[in-house]
């Protein structure tokens, strides 16, 4: 069985979920039932296992259902279920890195990206200033880099289009000759 990846739009919707009851739910929290509790516990086990295995799709699909119920924070009876939701959100954040790592990115320059973290996660404070930063770094907005790269491609597209037009024109001129 192949578990499909959760689209980013779905994850964004999940991140925008309100934790307070809305008018759509009649202003009420999710009612506790033993079956729902069992469902949540199983999903939590699946999510933690998915995180342990580095399986992004497994965790994200489990989290999608795990975060849907709206538990009442003032009810001590559902505290474990709330804990699960809190923890799974941290796992989701931690797990997204695997997804970012899998994305194609701009080739590293000759001297390499600035060495922000060593192979064992050790920080390297002596990393050279002014060197290019890996665009995959969390929290780093590489908008300028991608914008510049895109501009270069636009210029290339424009240039090749002009060459193409000249070629067409020359072909018609050669026919006429």
């Amino acid at each position: 069985v192949v578990i499909p990846p959760v689209p980013i739009e779905e994850l964004e919707k999940l991140a925008l979920l309100s934790r307070t009851p809305s008018a759509a739910t009649g202003g009420k929290y999710t009612a506790f039932t033993p079956m729902l509790q069992l469902h949540q516990r199983i999903l939590y086990s699946v999510a933690t296992l998915g995180h342990l295995l580095g399986n992004v799709n497994l965790l994200q699909n489990a989290a999608r259902f795990l975060l849907q119920p709206l538990w009442d924070p003032s009810d001590p009876f559902v505290r474990e279920l709330l804990d699960m939701q809190v923890h799974v959100q941290y796992l989701l954040a931690d797990n997204i890195i695997v997804r970012i790592k899998a994305l194609p990115f701009k080739k590293a320059p000759k001297e390499g990206f600035v060495d922000l973290q060593g192979a064992e996660g050790e920080l390297n404070p002596a990393a050279g200033a002014g060197q290019e930063v890996d665009p995959r770094c969390l929290g780093y907005d590489s908008a300028e880099v991608s914008k510049r790269t895109t501009e270069v491609y636009y210029v290339r597209v424009l240039f090749s289009t002009v060459v193409f037009c000249i070629a067409e024109l020359s072909w018609w001129r050669s026919l006429w000759l």
């Binding site: 709330l82 970012i100 990115f105 770094c137 929290g139 491609y153 070629a167 050669s174």
Partner: protein
């Protein structure tokens, strides 16, 4: 003969040119299509990366908010530690100007979340079933220091000083002893050891100097050099003075630096010695 050769050559070149242009157009058209496709893919990839990076912060923020709603101090600090470990390269390498705006939002809300457990004991009373947990002040001070550094990088010195002062344990006050006008309230509980507050106090002092220099550069007729702020502790006051004296020449004149060093020696000889004389070294600990 020459005319025939010329005609043949012209026909040959005409046909050759035609083939060449057809070939060129074909290759170029393919190249154009490929380039367009690649540019589109590149745009999508960079946007996807950015969205995923944003999601990392958003999920952490949601988790922290939910942990605050049940007053679970452990879960809140757990989320903040996740955030810190995942983004530590940004703070260590001062990449504040290229930081995602979501990070600033997280920092502000995380400080408020941690403060909800430190400032008011009643508010921090845990929900039934939860244990009350001690708050790690190092975590809070690191967040404040980062927020202050971000504002400094953006040139918002007033906000930077305000953020730093929330961690110093005392509102910025001139050497006279009274808190400065508009100084923030004492947000940091007094139990935070001086050892932990040293760095943020130094940052606050340095920012005050920077603000004074900026005011002198922009103001009419220049501004008076600002006094190093005091923090209600002799050790911290010494560090506050020394950090200003250590600033490079355009910011700190040599004569002023010498005067500041003498002032630091004065505080060491009087206040620090007095503090040391009452300390019980048998009960001292690092924290």
């Amino acid at each position: 003969v020459e005319v025939v050769v010329a005609v043949k050559a012209s026909i040959f070149w005409s046909v050759a040119a035609r083939f060449f242009w057809i070939l060129h157009a074909y290759v170029d058209r393919t190249f154009t299509v490929l380039t367009c496709a690649y540019a589109v893919v590149l745009l999508q990839v960079s946007e996807e990366t950015r969205s995923l990076k944003r999601l990392v912060v958003q999920f952490l923020q949601l988790g922290v908010a939910q942990a605050v709603s049940v007053k679970d101090a452990y879960a809140v600090q757990n989320g903040v530690i996740y955030f810190w470990n995942l983004h530590v390269h940004i703070f260590r390498h001062s990449l504040y100007t290229q930081m995602l705006p979501e990070i600033v939002g997280f920092l502000t809300s995380a400080i408020a979340a941690v403060d909800s457990f430190t400032v008011s004991a009643a508010a921090a009373a845990p929900t039934a079933g939860y244990e009350s947990a001690p708050v790690d002040h190092r975590l809070r001070l690191s967040l404040l220091e980062t927020l202050s550094s971000y504002y400094e990088a953006k040139g918002m010195l007033a906000e930077a000083i305000d953020a730093a002062n929330k961690g110093t344990g005392a509102g910025s006050a001139p050497a006279g002893g009274k808190p400065a006008k508009g100084a923030p309230p004492q947000d940091t509980p007094p139990e935070v050891p001086e050892y932990l507050r040293k760095k943020i106090c130094e940052q606050s002092s340095r920012l005050v100097l920077l603000q004074g220099a900026a005011a002198a550069a922009g103001g009419k007729g220049g501004a008076k050099p600002s006094e190093p702020p005091t923090f209600g502790n002799a050790f911290l006051n010494v560090f506050s003075v020394i950090i200003q004296a250590e600033q490079p020449a355009p910011l700190m004149a040599k004569e002023t630096a010498v005067a500041l060093v003498n002032k630091a020696v004065d505080i060491l000889e009087k206040d620090v010695e007095a503090d040391l004389s009452v300390l019980d070294f048998n009960t001292l600990s690092q924290v």
